[in-house]
């Protein structure tokens, strides 16, 4: 990333300096980003049928930006009446568009890995399994879990992978990526 800071020169240095300094300060300020941790509301969908979190289900997202690097974490959890696990690979939105130097992919294991996380099954520790976070599109992520057999990985999905989703179950994640300013 190029900041394009203004460098005042010449006979108009004194006259031009205040406005040029203000431009520079604003550029650096925007690049640095806020110190504070920010929140956002991720959107959970699925490839085949969108899930419904339920009347007391939750989805939460946080992020911290340091320059153009985004560190984000969050979770979703089914709960309450009306919850429905949906069908197909779960997809969750990122706080900002990601650069796609490595092409994203909706196929498990083909896209860049942004971080890690876990599935959380409230009824059994067996369902609290590590996952990887994969860039699914420039704006979304998906989750991979070790296959039950063989050597591959597969996507966490509403189609009972890795378990039959019930109230209290969900996914937690942490991801890091470079923001695309466009």
């Amino acid at each position: 990333m190029v900041l394009s800071l203004v460098t005042p020169i010449g006979s108009n240095f004194i006259k031009d300096f205040p406005s040029q300094n203000a431009v520079n300060c604003n550029i650096i300020d925007a690049y640095a980003g806020p110190y504070a941790i920010q929140t956002y509301t991720p959107l959970l969908t699925a490839v085949t049928t969108n899930p419904v979190l339920g009347s007391t289900g939750t989805i939460t997202g946080f992020y911290y930006s340091i320059f153009d690097q985004i560190y984000t974490w969050g979770e979703f959890k089914f709960n309450g009446t009306g919850s429905n696990k949906g069908a197909g690979t779960y997809i969750v939105t990122l706080p900002f568009k990601a650069k796609t130097v490595f092409p994203p992919s909706g196929f498990s294991g083909e896209g860049p890995i942004l971080g890690s996380g876990m599935t959380y099954q409230v009824s059994s520790a067996v369902g609290r399994q590590p996952i990887t976070v994969q860039l699914q599109t420039a704006n979304t992520m998906m989750f991979n879990i070790k296959a039950d057999s063989g050597f591959g990985s597969r996507a966490v999905s509403g189609t009972d992978i890795p378990f039959a989703w019930a109230n209290g179950d969900g996914v937690k994640w942490t991801a890091r990526y470079q923001r695309d300013p466009t």
Partner: protein
């Protein structure tokens, strides 16, 4: 009208035309001092410090004991203002090593941000490799998680079990654990 405004995030000082040419006075800092403040803020933004820290290995019930030749070590990089990237290693050691009991805990070098809180008391922050010195097949990759209620890090094996004296396997002499974590800290 003379005066200054400040940028949103860093509070960088932006003097207007009149303010910018005022000299330093006893009651007024002047641009020279204001510029110094700006430079120091920008400089602080790009700081990176590296350090070692004492990695403490404890457990929910009874803390384990390192055996002969055993050691723990931790190192971290802090990218100011709020990012920490750390690495750690444990060698259980030989004679005299005891596994303790309960889920193992490990301290972090800098307190995570208070927003690092999710339900069920676990926030993923990294990965680790557990090596079983007596049975390679029992070696495993763990998920490292931060537990806000205790302020510590703990691990989950692919089976879902939390790393303890008995899970995913009974801890043995000369087993090792090494990994990394990344997380934002509290506001400086």
């Amino acid at each position: 009208m003379m005066g200054t405004t400040v940028s949103t995030n860093l509070g960088l000082i932006k003097p207007d035309s009149d303010e910018s040419i005022k000299a330093n006075m006893p009651t007024f800092a002047g641009w020279a001092a204001q510029n110094t403040i700006n430079m120091d803020k920008i400089d602080a933004l790009f700081r990176a410090t590296t350090a070692t820290y004492t990695l403490n290995w404890t457990a929910d019930t009874t803390s384990p004991t390192l055996g002969a030749g055993g050691f723990t070590e931790g190192k971290f990089v802090r990218l100011w203002p709020r990012m920490v990237i750390g690495f750690y290693r444990i060698n259980i050691g030989g004679a005299g090593a005891t596994a303790g009991s309960g889920t193992y805990r490990f301290n972090l070098p800098v307190a995570p941000a208070t927003e690092m809180t999710l339900t069920d008391d676990a926030v993923p922050i990294g990965r680790a490799l557990f090596t079983d010195s007596s049975a390679v097949v029992s070696s495993s990759v763990f998920l490292a998680s931060y537990r806000p209620s205790t302020g510590n890090m703990f691990f989950r094996a692919p089976s879902g079990a939390a790393f303890s004296d008995t899970l995913p396997v009974a801890l043995g002499q000369n087993d090792t654990l090494s990994g990394y974590f990344i997380y934002p800290t509290a506001a400086p």
